[in-house]
Symmetry: D2
Subunit: 341 residues, 4 copies
């Protein structure tokens, strides 16, 4: 299988390379970077020396390289201009950006502050959360890969909302993300001298992942959903930790419910009762680990979720989707244990 990557100089692009370059069943044949076109990939990323022999191409050259599947690891607003041409040639597409995640065009345009360039494709796109849409993904031509925060938050609330045992109107997600989630662009706030040895919330008034998460939660819930979503910037490189709060409206064995819901999921691990998952326990892997708490046996459930924002929150989940779309075993290439310590 021949794979292309548009947008190969950011963290999700190089993470796709890291995960794909050791495989024999697929081959990355194209990778683009407008800034580095013509240069060896290993010049930018010496960690890949000996693993890959590609040169960055101009993204416009994708049409000249036959591919079975193309990933967009581009900023928001790029894939919506280029996806159609590829789909028309029979190339499958996975977009890691936000272009096709939100079904309501008006909502998308409000939060992303631009006109959508490919409205017809929005409906066609399948939301790439395999735990919810595995069958549709297998048949999809275009997959909208979920955001990093939305993956963690949706997986954590999923059993509670499907079961209808919480007040879906007062959900709270207090979520902390490692700094690679901010991307590889030069900026003052993400300098090491600014962001390390410190911690802050950001985007409390409104973050683009809020509508994406609420759209997903609404699909799981019989009753209307309202979420308070507070993202924070963690001084770690990789990892998201979501601390989720929901008011219980019924008495159930939460631990058993979570274990049952995810028992066949290869990339969701429900920890034993009383656990506190660490982000490092999934560093570099596609695993999402969840712990379920009900402090003081009061009415608030506290769900702890960790994932690697660049893997299950981005490139790993995209490859999980690729495996499904190409008819390969879903877990192929995604089974290395975490780097610890």
């Amino acid at each position: 299988m021949r794979i292309g990557i548009i947008g190969g100089s950011g963290y999700t692009g190089v993470e796709l390379l890291r995960l794909l370059c050791v495989r024999n069943d697929v081959e990355v044949v194209f990778i683009s970077s407008r800034a580095h076109a013509g240069k060896a990939v290993t010049e930018q990323f010496p960690s890949l020396r000996g693993h890959i022999d590609l040169t960055f191409s101009d993204p416009d050259k994708i049409g000249e390289t036959p591919c079975d599947l193309v990933f967009f690891a581009t900023p928001n607003g790029t894939a919506m201009h280029q996806a159609l041409a590829l789909l028309d040639k029979g190339v499958k597409v996975i977009d890691l950006s936000a272009d096709f995640r939100i079904k309501d065009v008006a909502v998308w345009e409000q939060w992303y502050a631009q006109e959508h360039a490919s409205v017809a494709l929005i409906e066609k796109a399948v939301y790439g959360l395999p735990e919810l849409f595995r069958d549709q993904i297998r048949e999809a031509e275009l997959v909208a890969n979920p955001g990093c925060y939305p993956t963690a938050v949706q997986l954590g609330f999923l059993p509670l909302l499907e079961a209808g045992i919480v007040d879906s109107q007062s959900l709270i997600a207090d979520v902390k993300s490692g700094i690679s989630g901010a991307g590889r662009g030069a900026s003052v706030p993400t300098l090491m001298a600014e962001a390390s040895d410190s911690f802050k919330a950001y985007g409390v008034a409104g973050h683009r992942h809020l509508p994406e998460i609420e759209q997903g939660l609404a699909l799981m819930s019989a009753s209307p959903v309202s979420l308070t979503f507070t993202p924070h910037l963690l001084p770690i490189i990789r990892g998201i930790h979501a601390t989720l709060y929901a008011r219980l409206t019924a008495e159930v064995d939460l631990q058993a419910m979570f274990e049952k819901r995810f028992k066949d999921e290869p990339f969701v691990d429900v920890l034993p009762e009383g656990s506190h998952p660490e982000t490092r326990s999934v560093k570099g892997t596609n695993m999402c680990r969840i712990a379920v708490h009900r402090p003081q046996n009061r009415q608030t459930a506290v769900i702890l979720v960790v994932e690697d924002n660049l893997v299950k929150g981005a490139a790993g989940q995209a490859i999980q989707n690729m495996n499904l779309m190409l008819g390969l075993a879903e877990t192929t290439g995604l089974q290395q244990p975490a780097l610890m310590p």
Copy 2:
């Protein structure tokens, strides 16, 4: 004024030294460490070379050194055995541990898993949160210095609960603390190879600061209080960030209310609307910075609070209390700006 410190080899002890050693109006004349007795303080703490010329003493020698005021920077369960003898001699006492914080002895004994050795002093002790008990602190002989988490959480909820404009039964405090909060004892989970570049919650089932915080919140609130409190371990050295959630039950101008409540407080800084305080903005200082949000104009208020856990959360607040107890200007020795970057 002559000052003694019992327990001088931990982080709160050495922080007291750092803040006191540059002052002319008070002098540290005694500092104890059972393990290092007889050794120069600067051997353990070379950062104090040139600033202090003390030798660690055995804690039992405190009786031989006349002091006006003694700090206990000891583990829980120590001050309750030694405070009475000092008070009887007319020495004022500030306990940085938890021994005198909780008024209900049974609750204290349950959470701290030991019998209380000095029940009579509990009532006598004044809770050292100046923003609430300034006048009593001025007159106090024994001050129970608040915990690091309780300081941040109580200050953040204070205006909301005093005004009675939130549902006091569904309060949530999602709090993140730097690793110095875990103390200076050797332990595997706080090794750098374990705790850095990672993040986790802990004590979700129940943390000792929960009853202390609920006791404080109850005093502010006309209606009963219930709090979900989730502590997390941040990979930073100093700093606490509390993200507080409360359901609004009335329409008020939150920003104006917070600004008014704290306008005369020297160590509480309400940031402009839309702000996101960073822990580093208070690193090394006694300042607590607060930002007030109401995301999407929905019904949940989100209050962001930062403090340095070793200063406003421990040694700095203790010195603020000392200043009050000794009739000095409250802010003396606590006005250095934060170290940034």
Copy 3:
């Protein structure tokens, strides 16, 4: 092939597990930890959940479990007591500790401050640096796996000393190690609050790796060797960076010499001229990357070497040796690219 690991609760032990658990050609059948005997490995190391189903055993039980090869990932002074019994049963042994690294017993006993318990085995042991002793390792029954610092320093000086083009009596190795090199034992100096956001040298007066390195360098050099070795503690988890200085005594093309010397080595990568290798470029991998400089075209060569102290500096090199000893392809299981970022 059946593999045993003595000492499975430290960082080198769990790193062996991480690298071996995904392989089909070898199986870890025994892992010991006196402290955790009887408990599941994944309780200590949740990152291995789903990858391994072993329980820690008492180390004394190794005799009851048939193995083809046993790793000692134990503190110094343990393997020398247990290796002989295994060897006598035909089990191959790789010792990751220092017990069999130094050929001169008196030197070993001086630096390790104990009597050597198995002098006869010292001569039998092959020093496990494949770039120097590949053929002997293939035939070895007992391999002394090199220390982390010695691997980096020896590989960096190797071409210079073999060629005899530097003053071998004034060598300098200024080496910086990540904190995992200090092990997983609880201690104050390696706490995150002590070691992060700081940097220091240690052991400047004399470090145990000095005699090991000088022994190795002497074997490469026709003239006597003297090394100044300064280890430093880096506030990173994994990684060693050696900065090596040598006075040139002849004019040669250093870059070409290094490239030629290592061109067939699977785990030594000589970077293009002018490069500065980053420790992260080898994070989690068995690769050693080297850059060669001659600043200002003066007489001092500056060689930069990076490795992951837990992989090429410990567990990875041990597995490279295992592959050789068991007749497997040398690079098996060691070909994942580094985790970046």
Copy 4:
């Protein structure tokens, strides 16, 4: 005394503010930032809220604000255009950039790749290392404040070269700097996701501080000097650690020599024999701590030097110079102990 700061939005500028804003004897009356002109300083730096009430001005407005002394905390190549006008008005000037540090114009122009705009002032400028040029600084109108690396390296080699007891032609300085040394400009290599949890050398072929250091060392030495200088990037915010190597040519008591040379220096602290200074022991302070070693009693002296690159390596030393130039006590405002932990 009225103080101006040109270039107030970088790390040295804000560090000047942090150190000056608590003083009563001097007042910062002007601070410039072209990008933030018209905005409150505390908007950029909330850590200074409550400490300073200034607004950033356009740098060209400095002429309109009477000042006794002006600091240039600007990029290289700025002060040389603006200093003369200020000096002509009788304003004293301290330049924290490199414009006036190197006496040989040709050398400066080669390393800084531009024509020097104010050659006449170079000779007039006094090099602001008080340990060498205290008397000249007292009389100076223009001080060239030393670079961060040059301060540490020169202070460490000073007693050895003055005494003429080392081979001055084979000096080596292996120096590691915290990332704030790279400044506050947005750039990919200094992003936290790139620079944290990693380590590398840089500029090995030639760094601009090499000629500055060699110029200084030559002044101390009776014989010609040649230095190999290797800078490295440390994943810490503040701090420089210099590890210096020199071949001894005479037998002396190094410890005694260093203690004697610096015994009257307020900001150089020679540690007891066998010490290993940590960068954190000087975090936020103007202190330089030095330890002296002679490993294995061989012929190489190893000198360990730590300083805070933003204080003794920049703003603190500049204020030390300011105190001297204004006839104030040299240590005024520079006596806070380090932030620890």
